[in-house]
């Protein structure tokens, strides 16, 4: 009986989270879906979304994994403050993130005038899309990877160091393999966040088909004229994201099984 109280409470949230997604699918007919997928904005946008989120996630993993290891192992107030600061992009509204990116890297941006005085800018380019996605999604990766590294048994690291393993060797041979499930999960979460990124991209990179118009921007553009097409595109995006999540869960289960198997 007491368990059923928990079940009911949990079920309320589960239903709330699932119902809109179900409604998205349930209110569309196959005809809507096929006509939506033939919308001229779909394929260039999908291609661009896959390309830019792959790059931004790769950058997040490449640079974020060392950062997470430093944050997980360093001591001191400075690193605590840094860790908090790095979470700020998660809480600021995406449109504000876009303004912040413009003020930093835009044509009159903080560092643009120093880097290139004759006024170059990456605004309105595909690189700007990658930067916007990286800015909003990398904090998720760093957060997940940091807590994964914190769960690595410090005894193992100590033993390795006693046997003369260099810091890099400890990182690559001990920390990263042991934290791998957390790193993969973090990468997936960061990828999913990048895939859905809208506000910062619109603000910082603009909206031009084939160059900066990602799937969420195409959905919003289609929404201006045709709710059905927008819905079909949204279903496409949900399916892409769902495939990704299922893939990651399968990978995690596989890896966990091999790691947690008794020696």
């Amino acid at each position: 009986m007491q368990r059923s109280v928990l079940v009911v409470l949990g079920a309320i949230l589960a239903a709330f989270l699932a119902l809109p997604v179900i409604a998205l699918f349930a209110t569309a007919t196959i005809a809507d879906l096929s006509s939506g997928l033939q919308h001229p904005l779909v394929w260039p946008a999908l291609r661009l979304s896959v390309l830019t989120t792959s790059i931004s996630t790769a950058i997040a993993v490449l640079l974020g994994t060392p950062l997470a290891w430093i944050l997980a192992t360093a001591r001191g107030r400075f690193f605590g403050l840094l860790e908090t600061l790095l979470q700020v992009p998660i809480v600021i509204p995406p449109a504000v993130a876009g303004i912040a990116l413009l003020l930093a890297f835009g044509r009159r941006g903080l560092i643009t005038s120093a880097l290139c005085p004759d006024g170059c800018s990456i605004t309105f380019t595909t690189s700007a899309v990658v930067l916007a996605e990286l800015f909003v999604s990398a904090p998720f990766f760093v957060q997940a990877a940091t807590s994964a590294f914190r769960r690595v048994d410090s005894q193992l690291v100590l033993v390795a160091q006693t046997f003369g393993a260099s810091p890099l060797r400890v990182f690559f041979r001990i920390a990263v393999p042991l934290a791998m499930p957390g790193i993969v999960a973090g990468a997936a979460m960061s990828w999913a966040r990048a895939l859905g990124e809208f506000g910062a991209t619109l603000m910082f990179a603009g909206n031009l088909e084939g160059r900066t118009q990602t799937l969420p921007l195409a959905i919003y553009t289609a929404l201006e004229t045709d709710l059905r097409a927008a819905q079909a595109l949204s279903i496409g995006l949900v399916i892409v994201a769902l495939t990704l999540l299922v893939f990651v869960r399968a990978t995690l289960r596989g890896s966990r099984a091999s790691w947690e198997a008794p020696p």
């Binding site: 059923s4 079940v7 079920a11 201006e224």
Partner: protein, 282 residues
Amino acid sequence: MTPTPRFLLANRFRAAFALRVLLLALLVFATACKKTEAPAPAAMAAKAETLVVFAAASLRESFTAMGEDFKRTHAGLQITFNFAGTQELRTQVEQGAAVDVFASADQRHMQELVRAGQLAEPATFARNEPVIVVSREAASSVHALADLANTQRLVIGSPEVPIGRYTLQILDRAAPSLGAGFRSKVEAHVVSRELNVRQVLTKVKLGEAQAGIVYRTDAQTTPDLAVVPIAADINVIAEYPIAVAVKAPHPSVGREWVTYVRSAAGQAALARAGFLPPISPN
């Protein structure tokens, strides 16, 4: 619904019980939602009347000012404004939002809602003229529509939104005087097609774009940008219609609001924001 004695419950009975409780909760929730629709307006009228006005984003400043004035002659009246893109407002009305008056920045959305039986007899109350806004750095090189063909970074509205549609119409209408290839020459310099007119303005304001096409009312909010008018024989002027909702909770005060917007006082407030009067009051 009577639960089975607790001590007898096996695991799957518990799950079934939880499911029933959940379904009941959903049912209660659903009926509660339905019920609030009918009695709410009456209950609200008993306390203080609240006029709900859905208006295009470009009407924010002028409608807010008009609202303060309107309340002075209507003691106890509250006005709730919902300012957003006309398309968003239209979707909200179609999904059953409780609205008294709808003011659109676009004839097309208005006609669709009238055809769907949501709105009654619209009247044009204002017009808004597209103009070219130019960033400080490009101010010396853009003096006319023709100069857009030589602008490096141009931002316009997406063709799905009204300002973008007007922009393309303007470029097409310029073909006889500026050459058949004018539109494609200009479009070659377009770096972004923004989803609303304020985004176009922001990009020019920040200097990311050298020039853009926005409404006169938007340009007027940013005094530090140079404004270049578009010749009247080429320009496409946006018409703003207003209508009372068929199912308006407060139809009479809604009609009074429409009358006020079209009165001399309302027109003066709109003119201050940069709007043009309608051609012939109908």
